[in-house]
Amino acid sequence: MTQRHAQLVGVGESQYTRWGKIGDVTEHALACQAIQRAVADAGLSLDDVDGLASFAEDRNEAVFLAAELGLPALRFANMVWMPGGGGGCAAVSNAAMAVETGQAEVVVVYRSLCQGQFFRFGSAGVDASAPAPANPKPPTVQQANSLLLASLGFAMPFGLLMAAAAYALPTRRHMHLYGTTSKQLGMLAVTFREHASRNPRAVMGGRPMTLEDHQASPMIADPHRLFDCCLESDGACAVVVTTAERARDLAARPIEILASEQGAPKGYAFGPFSNANVADEIYATGGGEEMAKRLWAKAGLGPADVDVAQLYDHFTGCVLMQLEDYGFCERGEGGSFIESGALSWHGGSLPTNTHGGSLSEAYIHGLNHVVEGVRALRGDSTSPVENAEVCLVTSAACVPSSAVLLGRK
């Protein structure tokens, strides 16, 4: 068990919308707004902030945000490697390491996404409706200008670019091995939608969903129906990390970072996008089993100690596999665990994604799950879990990922 000292003391966000709906505010202005709100929530001033932390696929460089926000000094600026979704908790961990080792005193972790101003994630950057060029050149091998592109060179020619298709591959195998069903995945989506219906921030708050709706939603990449896929959203959020000493003087109840972990199993690369050759035993998993063991050991806690969880939900099947990775149920039993009603805020044994998650609140690369983790332990969630003291937050699955365990003293 490792002693940690860093605390989460503030959370904030902009308005969350469907992708492309925020066109009049730039993505970096939205980041500034979320950072300002999180700092105000902490009872701090921007003059107190001396560090910024983010994770891959961020278009909003810390040095520019620091200048725009007038930070007196940027002592710590740090970013986690790809993939974007996997780094949210790792960025919190980096902020914690910074304040614990005196590199900075108040570090803000942020994420801002305005997909309409850049490109929509679900399109994978291609436009199949675009007219073919008048004089097309014959297709040929092109130079890969990065290791990422060289790796994706063995996926893209087969049409594997879309996340819904990539993550369908391990999920389909899980169904084959364990009999997991689309209806079980649908029950998870319906539960998160119920949580969103109670959350005024949630993009899908006013759009109730039944299991029948899920089953009737169009097939995107079998077994992923539309409602198995996360939202594509515009919005920004931020969290503030500082030392225990500094946290003691602040108005809000600090939330402790009990433990954090980051990583990927051997050969994982970019998961199903790049590498079909991970060990057979871990192909139909979220890839987080070893990481979870390290996390529990660091905190001196186990799955039974978790009162509420915010699990990265890019796709329903990836949440199901995380439930198994983290030991909330046995391998292969994620489907029946969901069927038991375990994930519901109201009486479930593991209330999960009490904000509605990326499936129903907003897709902010999972940093909104950290925000909700703090709210859940403060007692501020719109789907509160009484006396919750320990919250697990994860970032991504089936690709390199990270996780934090949060606690309330």
Partner: protein, 141 residues
């Protein structure tokens, strides 16, 4: 030229000096995998060092092109203009490659016939005189 399954506008292979020989072999309709000449472990995609023994020495081992469906997804959204839908992305466990798998497509198959474990064989699609893509179809059609 072979039968065509996908339009010209599909994303082209992107390769560097490590992976280019794989595509050069493909252009000659040879499905190869990189093999460590020190410990004989095969690997894919191609990489500079053997992940098992860390030797940098390797050669290319030609495969039979037979295999089994390890997992798959039936995709209902196009990647390129003019693409027939749905199309099938599959992970193929390659025969004679020590359990090695590759991402590819299933062609000449009705979606309801696809299952994990389905025996498949290689079929080359010549996208141009310089580019051939290995796809797979059921052995029993």
């Amino acid at each position: 030229m072979s039968q065509r399954f996908f339009p010209d506008g599909m994303p082209p292979p992107l390769a560097d000096a490590i992976s280019l020989p794989w595509w050069e072999a493909a252009a000659e309709h040879r499905l190869v995998v990189q093999r460590c000449t020190s410990c004989e472990t095969t690997r894919h995609p191609p990489a500079p060092v053997c992940p098992e023994c860390r030797s940098a020495d390797s050669d290319w081992n030609e495969l039979s092109g037979r295999g089994q469906v390890y997992t798959y997804t039936i995709v209902h959204r196009p990647i390129a203009a003019g693409q027939e839908l749905p199309f099938v992305i599959a992970v193929i466990a390659l025969e004679g490659a020590g359990g090695l798998r590759m991402i590819s497509n299933l062609v000449e198959v009705k979606p309801d016939r696809i299952e994990i474990g389905l025996a498949v064989e290689l079929v080359w699609e010549d996208m141009s005189p310089d580019l051939a893509i290995p796809r797979f179809r059921p052995v029993e059609r």
